[in-house]
Symmetry: C2
Subunit: 439 residues, 2 copies
């Protein structure tokens, strides 16, 4: 018998993506009766269209969450260690900038494979079940009742003790929380879009050095490439939408790449590049913040549903995984008492998730795409933090801001004394956060 | 025949409140076929429950919009001029601080009466019709089709050339815009709530000087009182929710008022105060920003639906009315071409509406409820503007911020040289904006 009484509590996890499936494992391990509702079909059996996900970089926080479930070794064995960034200059010159000490690295991970493994891990719990092809229609948060639509197209009501929204940046669960009084929310699209391209293997091996995160920084745009197990690289081009729109023909695309990424063109292949560029339009990137993350003891948000962030800090999945771990630790501490753990999760976690969101946006604005001098960036960051205290997100960000501010005050100026390369400041921040990050 | 061809274009205005009904007049005057959908019953015939609206202060911008429709004189004649603030100190001492020159004043207006007059004005246009008791269910923004539910409880689809969301801070129209790509949005609740109370007439006349906006500034909370035509005052108490919650009994309430507003208690009457305080709970205040305000040539937002602001700048209704006037001026300039006027309205108006939102929030945070020294407030404001440029609302606020920044740089420090009373800085800002404001 579990600690809360005779009937196992029932939990609905909305979304069977990375955070949803990981969370389902944590909850199942605590003897909840867990139902996961995923709108898509089972990715382990369905033939997928070309994905639209930015490559994943698994780092310390994400690994700690996997470790708590005994999944770390399995997942890590399928990743490719990236021990440094490899900066590609215009001239084709390459220079490596390590992430940290020799033993520190981040892992390039396939989103699809990771998701498959996590779904399989969920299904190993006899008290957990995944309902694929089930879409959430409505949520009654007061009652804990959800209405889902399965393949039979008959809306079905089910009542749960807890509803966990892990349904991503465009969360349906969150849209019901938004209707509750005093729920703060913001969504912001950045002017950049992203597009994924491929560098195929060359002579059966990686076409570039595999154990690096390759970066072509180009002021207002940039390209990165992460290695895959099949010896390809997935390239992601980040560029303002208005610049994407200028590239209308194959000729435009090839001219653009020859001009800005001359060393990448022969690796991608002109023909493949000119074709792949038009397979999918550039995708938008959204930054979402909200507060609180919960409603009474009935409903909570985790992962992108709670805090979708722009990808320039390499922490999206890692922050989502850490959400699950933090909640699990609270459940341990407070003996699975949902009426304590949900408000405590909001109180404790929102400052951190808002901070990682601010850091990601800050990095996007000040570091990645601007040429602002770094000491100015630090000064601006401090002021930004001080000021955002006052204006936006009055509730919740205070602690986040405070910590980030103290953190920067204590470490950044010191590090700035021996600034050498363009990523050093970034590296110092990464050290301060005690986690490597991907860009 | 109108300028765009033979068939008059059809417009649905969602919401028959202040901005909706004013906008319907503007559009009807341009020979659109206008249908206004209002969820409530006709306030001119229905017996209303006690209102939940903060008192209105009509100022220059609002009057200009009414003037363009020939309604200014009628509305102004029903208002009560307030030529100065009357500050009530703890000791009961009163000091007047004029809004500007002797000829400058703002008007205390009854929201209900104004709304009634505007609805009657709409119905004077033969090409306009108001559907009361009609609730918007869904919007197909691509097609211009709305589904409304009238008293017959049968959902009805109607297709329009243009859908104008004037449905307030919790806009349903906006919720459909939010689902469109790259729509930026934020909603933020402030920690203060508000509650309306009454000072009845005394011996058949106003119990205090009528031509003032009375203010009891009390650091973290404050009360204001605006005069009504029936010789009552409507008082509004602004206070953190957590402080409201401390007042649980009539005794608590009377003790609190005797302590903080000793001169107001005999005017309100102990018995009435102790009763009225518990009639309605304290109401929340939300600040909403979004961008863009339009979708293609099909849909747009105006008033609180586009930019609900906190009331501490006295500009909510005035900004909404000016939206209508600005759009009308664009329609005049661009010959009623919706495909030009809608994007132009977003481009032109968003910076101003975001600026008034920032000024309102800024005033709430820095001036109204804090004891920060004013020159610090100015410095912070500048930094805030500079920094928010970078982080939040990348699109659109740039111009707003720039103007506010230039404005403050050009006027505030100079004015600070002869700072005398607590509202002078605020007065200087008001002069800079060339409009009086209410607090």
């Amino acid at each position: 018998m579990d600690s809360w009484g005779t009937r196992p509590k029932r939990v609905a996890v909305i979304g069977g993506g990375l955070v949803g499936s990981l969370n389902a494992c944590f909850l199942a391990k605590r003897n909840f009766q867990v139902d996961v509702y995923e709108a898509r079909e089972d990715i382990r059996v369905a033939q997928l269209a070309r994905g639209r996900s930015i490559n994943l970089a698994l780092s310390h926080r994400g690994r700690q969450a996997l470790k708590a479930l005994g999944l770390e070794d399995q997942i890590v064995s399928q990743g490719i260690p990236m021990r440094a960034r490899m900066i590609h200059s215009f001239s084709g010159k390459k220079s490596a900038i390590p992430y940290g000490t020799k033993s520190q690295y981040i892992l390039s991970i396939s989103r699809t494979n990771l998701n498959k493994d996590l779904l399989t891990a969920v299904e190993r719990y006899p008290n957990a079940k995944v309902y694929f092809g089930h879409r959430l229609l409505t949520c009654n948060l007061e009652e804990g009742t959800i209405t889902v639509l399965g393949s039979d197209k008959v809306p079905t009501d089910v009542t749960y003790d807890l509803i966990v929204g892990c349904d991503g940046a465009y969360s349906t669960v969150r849209s019901f929380l938004m209707k509750k009084p005093r729920f703060d929310y913001s969504q912001q699209y950045i002017p950049h879009g992203y597009m994924e391209l491929t560098i195929p293997p060359r002579d059966g091996d990686f076409a570039m050095e595999p154990n690096y995160l390759h970066i072509w920084p180009r002021n207002t745009f940039m390209m990165i490439a992460l290695p895959n197990k099949n010896k390809t690289f997935t390239c992601t081009l980040f560029m303002p939408f208005e610049d994407f729109e200028k590239l209308q023909t194959s000729r435009d695309v090839l001219d653009f790449f020859h001009k800005h990424f001359p060393d990448a063109v022969p690796l991608m292949g002109e023909q493949a590049l000119a074709r792949d560029f038009f397979l999918l339009p550039a995708q938008a990137m959204i930054s979402v913040k909200c507060s609180p993350f919960h409603f009474k003891s009935r409903c909570m948000l985790m992962g992108d549903a709670a805090h979708a962030i722009v990808p320039f800090f390499g922490q999206g999945m890692n922050a989502g995984f850490e959400d699950c771990l933090v909640f699990d630790e609270l459940m341990e501490k407070f003996n699975n008492d949902l009426s304590v753990c949900l408000p405590e999760f909001s109180r404790f976690r929102i400052p951190d998730d808002h901070a990682v969101s601010d850091l990601s946006m800050y990095n996007y604005v000040e570091v990645t795409f601007s040429r602002i001098r770094y000491h100015e960036a630090v000064l601006r960051w401090r002021w930004q933090k001080k000021v955002i205290n006052k204006g936006f997100f009055l509730f919740g960000t205070l602690v986040a801001i405070g910590s980030a501010y103290l953190l920067l005050r204590s470490t950044a100026p010191r590090r700035l004394d021996y600034l050498r390369g363009p990523w050093d400041w970034v590296t110092s921040l990464q050290h301060s956060l005690k986690t490597p990050w991907s860009l």
